[in-house]
Symmetry: C2
Subunit: 433 residues, 2 copies
């Protein structure tokens, strides 16, 4: 078979979390798939379209950002060190009412895509308004995106009449189904406190019909328990369960205040979870019981959340925080190891987002979504173990990024879109805000 | 006056924590001092030796790493996800017994210095064995260093007979007093559980005589309370106080388990504190009561600790963690703001380390220790506030570094030492380990 892209002489981490590294190694890609990996001694000699020398670089599956609101880069650093309720109602919702437009969503989502690609994120699960614009921005930037159209019971950008929010989501699913290999359409119901029971149930029915994922913010803050309009449900997660919302295709985002019974329910229903430790900390929302989730074999991914609450989309920083924050109480250093976090941020997240089993691994047959880390940096010396990817590597160590078999970043240069232009556009929009 | 170095057209953050930015601005340096700052309209026209264009860059005081063991870069990632006691006694102490030599200390300290300079750290407070070698390595690399000779009641590298540990420290103070403008010698008593009362008292007497700082790890873990050989002292900090060790020139490192009475004592004695949140979390030691310290106006700095327990020496990542971890319990998002953390990592730390009032600021008369952040990065768009330096910037965003008036890093190139050679040497030592 013809090889479209061959990478030679790299260090290979085929399965993050397994900590088995192979060096020197090669990776062969044909079309959008990895066809072969192995030691250099077995490197194929055949017709090769593009060859990259991976000397001094570690190849690993691309990171998966399990939860983001890409267009919110416009609000990065606009309102820091505030509690979620104040931040959301006094700053973010008003700013969104003033500034969210197709133009804003396009440029700010491209900025987010650029930041993520340059930081080694090859797949993002995004949820926002005007998500068709986000999907277009991401497809052009070359990042794989599970793009979820926002559903909320308020007038929202693109959906002035909330009574039409499910119809708008359906249009979006219709529009993006099978349209672009990088885009998987989905639905994002904002939360149990901003969506009525009827809206939640209709959103789930819609995603079932289209075999799409349903994302929802749930149990983000302690106060949320009092905000859910269901006196029969003791917690927001039990509220969702009572409505029949929890199954394998539902992704519960945050779950910072999931109690043991909630976790049992999530496990029983096989629902997926995405935790966002940095955003939860910055908004003083809490800390998700990641250990309890893993003990119950709940599928878990890791997300940055939007740039307004993080304030970066750096999944390396997120991994470091996720590992360290779990060790604080109970004081248990092995609670969640660096290797476990690497698995969560790659193959674990892929499963949560509904991708097949090869996604998030470097193996023959896997989608060719991979990144190369420059190991020749002082903070990565000596490279005793892949734990350094969690505890010392950063977004800027990513040199080369391949998504769906396409070279998207080469030697830290973004090849798909004009980054300078995107930054200029976002700055212009920010000055106007 | 002749200007040795003039930087023009930059954005200026003269006083991190104040959040007052000036742009476009200039900075004039003569010898080792800043002589003038101001808006470009007032930029002096005079004889200038070197001119740098700061367009697109933010100038701020260099970061101060308040606690490090520079040579421990050799052990980076060697033993992760372990509790402090296991980590120290089963991994680190044995590895140190096998590997610490003047050669190891020299190359590994240079690696640390390179990593820190490239990450915007212009001053480090280091404590290790063979600290004269660390001091030499740092002076050559061009980083300002409060170099503290380690004192411990075990046979240690360079001091085979622990009965001579105070004499060795005295030799070190003698040797480095007034020798190099970048090096301030000091003493580092390892901890109250590895130093006898007599050793602690003698170490303090020595530093008093030389007007030097005394550093000590204290209250790092909950167990430490049982390890201190003083049945009359309820806590390690009260133990140090009973021995008369606490004053303005004592720097208590960690204090993760300082209780309210301990904090009152630290405030009363005007002792300084350095907190190391990432190391404390990774070793599951605990979390320092930073808010209680600030409420009592205790002088506080921030440190990475050594690379073996962090595993990076990235003060940006440390600042992000320090701000976020304080918000978790009680759930208070304004507990410690990003601005406060910026002040702690610059002028706050300078005060703890005994530097004069201009240190850690960009002001006429301040030592010319400053860094330039590349604002033209996607994760720093839009730059709504200097909070982004804490919540989104990373070590790799540092473009240019000036220490004591000397250009040390220019366009991310380390000008002082051969980084490739240093990395090769450390890799060679690591393979042998």
């Amino acid at each position: 078979m013809k090889i479209d892209l061959l990478i030679t002489n790299c260090v290979l981490l085929p399965c993050p979390g397994c900590d088995t590294m192979l060096a020197p190694a090669f990776i062969a890609i044909s079309g959008s798939r990895i066809t072969q990996i192995g030691p250099m001694a077995e490197c194929p000699v055949t017709e090769i379209r593009t060859h990259l020398d991976g000397q001094g670089q570690l190849a690993m599956p691309g990171l998966i950002n399990g939860h983001c609101h890409a267009p919110m880069t416009l609000f990065r650093g606009m309102a820091d060190d505030l509690a979620l309720t104040t931040w959301l109602h006094e700053h973010i919702f008003p700013a969104e009412a003033r500034h969210v437009s197709p133009e804003m969503v396009y440029w700010c989502a491209q900025l987010a895509a650029a930041e993520m690609l340059l930081g080694g994120v090859t797949t993002v699960a995004d949820g926002y308004f005007l998500e068709d614009v986000v999907a277009r921005a991401c497809a052009e930037a070359g990042i794989r995106c599970v793009a979820a159209q926002g559903v909320i019971d308020f007038p929202a950008p693109g959906v002035a009449d909330p009574a039409l929010n499910i119809e708008a989501a359906q249009c979006f699913l219709e529009q993006w189904q099978h349209r672009d290999p990088l885009i998987t359409p989905a639905v994002f119901a904002h939360s149990p406190y901003t969506c009525s029971n009827q809206t939640l149930v209709r959103a789930k029915e819609l995603t079932r019909k289209y075999r799409a994922s349903l994302f929802i913010h749930v149990a983000e803050t302690r106060e949320e328990i009092h905000q859910v309009a269901n006196p029969l449900a003791a917690t927001p997660i039990r509220h969702l369960d009572a409505l029949g919302l929890l199954d394998r295709d539902t992704v519960c985002v945050h779950c910072a205040w999931a109690d043991d019974q909630d976790l049992d329910i999530l496990a029983e229903r096989q629902a997926g979870v995405v935790v966002c430790p940095q955003s939860n900390l910055k908004l003083a929302s809490g800390r998700a019981p990641l250990l309890g989730m893993l003990e119950r074999k709940i599928r878990v991914g890791l997300g940055t959340d939007g740039a307004a609450s993080n304030n970066s989309l750096d999944m390396f920083r997120e991994m470091g925080m996720a590992a360290k924050i779990q060790k604080i109480s109970p004081c248990d250093p092995v609670a969640v190891s660096a290797a476990r976090i690497l698995a969560i941020a790659t193959s674990g997240a892929a499963s949560v987002l509904g991708f097949g089993p090869g996604h998030g691994l470097l193996a023959p047959g896997s989608p060719a979504d991979l990144i190369f880390i420059d190991q020749q940096q002082p903070h990565l010396q000596p490279f005793h173990s892949s734990n350094l990817l969690v505890y010392s590597a950063g977004a800027a160590d990513v040199r080369t990024v391949i998504v769906n078999g396409q070279l998207v970043v080469r030697n830290r240069e973004l090849l798909t879109i004009n980054l300078q232009d995107v930054m200029n556009q976002v700055r212009r929009l920010a000055v106007a805000s």
